[in-house]
Symmetry: C2
Amino acid sequence: MEEVTEAARRIKPHAYRTPVLHSASLDARAGGAVFLKCENLQHVGAFKFRGALNAISALPEEVRARGIVAYSSGNHAQAVARVGQILDVRTTIVMPADAPAIKREATAAFGARVVLYDPATESREAIAQDLLQDGATLIPPFDHRDVIAGQATAILELHEEVTGLDAVVVPCGGGGLLSGTGIVTRALAPGCKVIGVEPELGDDATRSFRTKTLQTVRNPATIADGTRTPSLGALTFPLVLANVDDMQTVSEAAIIEAVRLLFYRLKIVVEPSGALGVAALISGAVTGYHRIGVVLSGGNIDGSTMAAILTETPATMSAHA
Amino acid sequence: MEEVTEAARRIKPHAYRTPVLHSASLDARAGGAVFLKCENLQHVGAFKFRGALNAISALPEEVRARGIVAYSSGNHAQAVARVGQILDVRTTIVMPADAPAIKREATAAFGARVVLYDPATESREAIAQDLLQDGATLIPPFDHRDVIAGQATAILELHEEVTGLDAVVVPCGGGGLLSGTGIVTRALAPGCKVIGVEPELGDDATRSFRTKTLQTVRNPATIADGTRTPSLGALTFPLVLANVDDMQTVSEAAIIEAVRLLFYRLKIVVEPSGALGVAALISGAVTGYHRIGVVLSGGNIDGSTMAAILTETPATMSAHA
C-alpha cells in the first residue's frame, strides 16, 4: 500500500484524475448504485498509462537512457510509448500482428519503434529478450511491482471519491489491476468485496482462483482483446489468491451489450475488455450489492468493431470474437 | 446573471456537475488549450436538461399539476420528459416525425406522451397550442427566461472550473445556450470572446448576427439535427446581438470529423450538433486563442449514424446530411 501511495505522488504531474460517472438506468439494471471509474478517459485511453508512468518514472536516469522495451496486446504498448514521449525515453514495443489497428497506429504515433510478431507461432517474451541485449529495460504489462502499484492508483482515487462501497468489480487479464484493487481495497475499505471479471472464453484466472493452481489459456477468441493474456503472473497470481473475494465470467453477448449500454446511456466509448465489470452487473454474474465501484479500464476500440456492435444483433456479433 | 445563479441553486439536487475534459491531440489540432465541458454526460445526454429542470422547478405546484407541453427536435423533449418523471409532473411532447429514433424512444421511455408531426407540412407551435386548452404550461426549447438561465449554468460551471479562458465556443440552434453563454461570460470573464457555431447548411443565426435582422432557414439538411431550428427567438436574438462577439459556420465534413475525433481521442460519444465547437476549432473557423472553452452540448446520436461516421469516408457521409 505504501508503494501505491508513492505511485500516486509520482504519477500526479502527468496522469488524469479521471471522473467517476453514474447512471440511473444502469443502477436500475444492476440493482444498486454503480460508480464508474472512467479509465477510458485516461491518457492513451486506458489505466495502463498509470502503471507504465509509475514504472518508468521510478527508473534511475541512467537506466532510462538505455531505453525501454515492452510487449503488449495493445494498451500497455500505447502507455509505454506515450510515457516515453513525455519523459523523452526511447521505447520499443513488441505487439501481436493481430492487435487492433487503432492500438498499433497509436503506439507508432507516440514515437515508439513497433516490432510485430505472430502470436500463434512466436513467443513475445523471447522476442523481447532479444531486444534487451543492448541494456534496455523491460517493462512488462502487469507482472511488475511498480506497474501494479501505478495501476492501483485508479482504485485509490475511486475509494477516495466514493466511500461506503460494498463491492469493487474490475476486469482481469494478467491480473495487474485486480491485484492492485485487492491491495488498496483491503487497506482502505476492508468490508468491501473485490471481484474480478473475465470473458467466459478466456477464463484462466477464474479457474486459477477456484483451483488455487495456475491455469492457462491460449489466444482465446474473445472480443475482449485486452484479456487475451495466457495466464496470471508470478506476482499477480498470489496477490489475486490473497486479496480477491470472487471471480466471475461473462458471455460475449453480455460484453457487447455492456459496450452498447455505455455508448447509449453513458455516452462514453469503452472497449470490450473495459466493459467487463458492467457486463457482470447487467448479466447477473455479480449481484446483491448496494454501492458498487466498477473500473472501465479502457476505451480503445476500432471504429469497425464499434460500428458492428451498434448495428448488428448480439447473435451476429459473436462471429467477431 | 442573478437568474443564472438562482438556477444553479435550483437545479443542483438533480443535475450533474459534468466533467471538463482535455486532450493533448486536440490542443495540437486547435493551436491552444481546449477545455471540453461535457454536457453529453449530463442527464438525458444534453445541456437541455438544465433548462427544462430550471423552468419546470420554477413553476408553482398548482401550475405544474396541470401538466407540461413541449415541442422539440429531440433533446429538449427528452429533458422535459425526464424532469417530469423526476418531479412527478405529466408531460406531453410534440416531436417531428423524422427526429432520430433514439430521441423519440427515450422520450417515451421517460413516461411522456409523444405526439408526432410532419415538419414539412405542419407547424409544431400550432399543434402545441391545441394541446394547451386544458391548462397545461408550454415549456419552449430555448426562447424562455428560465430555460436560458438553466442552460447557462453549464457555462457558469465551466468558468468556475477553468479560469483565464480567452474564448468560449458553443453550438447555436435556437440560441438559448449561446444567449446564456454571453450573459455569464460578460459577467464572469469580461475579456473572454463569445463565439457561436452553426452548420453551413443551417446558418440563419450567423446571417441574423451579421445583418442584425432576423433570418430564417427551413428544415436544413444538416447532420446536426439539434440545430435545425428555423431561427433565433424573440428573446435569444437580441441577447445574441448584445453579448456575442462572433458567429462561425462549419461544413458537414468538419462536423463529422469532430465527432470522429471525439470518439477516438476523447473516448466520448458526441452527437453532430454537440461537436460544432470542436468542428470550428479543427477546421480553422475559430483560431488565434490560447485557452478555449467548448461546450459539447449533447451525445444523443443513433447507432446507425455513428456507425456510418466511424466506417465511411467524409465524402460519403455528406449524403447522410
